[in-house]
């Protein structure tokens, strides 16, 4: 109850706060989404990407 009131007074009460919070959350959401999907991609393709198998080849050259 008081938590909801705190949120309302902090964020929703003024549009000058609400809209920047929305854009900032969109920015953070975009970064988080990118990180999450990249991590999922890397885990799904584990062992297939160049960065995973690079040590097999680079060590032989040196």
């Amino acid at each position: 109850m008081s938590l909801a009131n705190n949120f309302y007074n902090l964020i929703f009460k003024r549009n000058s706060v609400y809209v920047p919070v929305v854009f900032a959350s969109a920015f953070a959401f975009g970064i988080g989404f990118d990180l999450g999907t990249t991590a999922f991609w890397d885990s799904w393709n584990k062992g297939k990407q160049w960065k995973d198998i690079r040590h097999n080849y680079v060590q032989q050259e040196e």
Partner: protein, 281 residues
């Protein structure tokens, strides 16, 4: 089966409610709805009022009899069928309501409005967050499709081995369709470039501003006058000389005489000491 047959109630109920010609049931006005049905008073509450619309106890009885499974009811009187014009003392029509019955919605009512308000604003804001990220990724997609691709960017750079250029020698390379002069300058030439009074120049620039390392001068080999290619190690100032209209550049590529308005341009380049390379672009 016999039990069922024995427990038939022998009551003659009034067949129907008598009704007006419109079909509305005709209810007598003197029925006492407030009175309670006959019940055991449990010795208190005093004598209870008898409901006038229930058959009196002397007219009917309900007993638990031995030999029968369950209650047996018996009616001692025969109720006459309702005939037109007779009063009917038992009826099944509902009591007339003063106002239409409104359901009780109090369980649907919220206990606090602030939770709902915060939730509503949160949902609207989440919608905004999702739309804003969608718009951002759309714009980013369009912009990145317009940007130069990796192979184009790779072709736009030129690497030059520094060890191949001896001191006091010029090298002309082609970079993005234009000539680029690279000169490995001697200490005397650097001193000469620094000794010039910068304020007296047409396009005042110090030698430090034009080089990243004083030994290496990298500049576009296009005359700033009309775009000819100047000739190296010639001219009155020991630098470059444009044969088209006679512009003289000094050993730092600065315009000293002739029609050219500005110094020779410096392209974007990096000097990679570890690999011994100059990367133009």
């Amino acid at each position: 089966m016999s039990t069922l047959a024995r427990s038939v109630t022998r009551v003659n109920l009034a067949p129907t409610v008598s009704q007006f010609s419109t079909g509305v049931p005709k209810a007598p006005v003197f029925v006492n709805f407030a009175a309670k049905a006959p019940h055991d008073a449990h010795g208190h509450h005093g004598p209870s009022a008898i409901r006038s619309d229930v058959a009196p106890s002397w007219a009917t009885e309900v007993k638990l009899r031995n030999g029968f499974n369950g209650l047996v009811s018996k009616t001692h009187v025969t109720a006459p069928p309702t005939v037109p014009g007779s009063f009917r003392h038992i009826h099944t029509s509902r009591a007339v309501q003063e106002a239409p019955e409104v359901p009780d919605y109090s369980s649907y009512k919220t206990s606090s409005g602030s939770n709902n308000r915060a939730l509503s604003y949160f949902l609207v804001g989440s919608m905004g967050v999702v739309s804003a990220s969608l718009a951002k990724s759309t714009v980013t997609g369009f912009l990145s499709s317009m940007a130069a691709s990796a192979d184009v960017l790779a072709l736009a750079k030129v690497e030059v081995e520094m060890a191949n250029i001896p001191e006091g020698k010029n090298v002309i390379i082609k970079w993005r369709g234009k000539p680029v002069f690279i000169r490995h300058r001697t200490p005397e030439e650097i001193e000469e470039a620094n000794s010039v009074d910068v304020k007296a120049l047409r396009d005042p620039q110090t030698d430090e501003a034009r080089t990243k390392q004083p030994e290496w001068l990298v500049m576009l080999g296009v005359c700033t006058h009309l775009g000819c290619v100047p000739i190296g190690e010639s001219g009155d100032y020991g630098g470059w000389f444009c044969p088209c209209h006679g512009s003289h550049y000094d050993i730092s590529g600065r315009i000293r005489a002739g029609p050219a308005p500005t110094n020779l341009e410096i392209p974007e380049y990096t000097i990679d000491e570890g690999a011994g390379k100059i990367v133009v672009g």
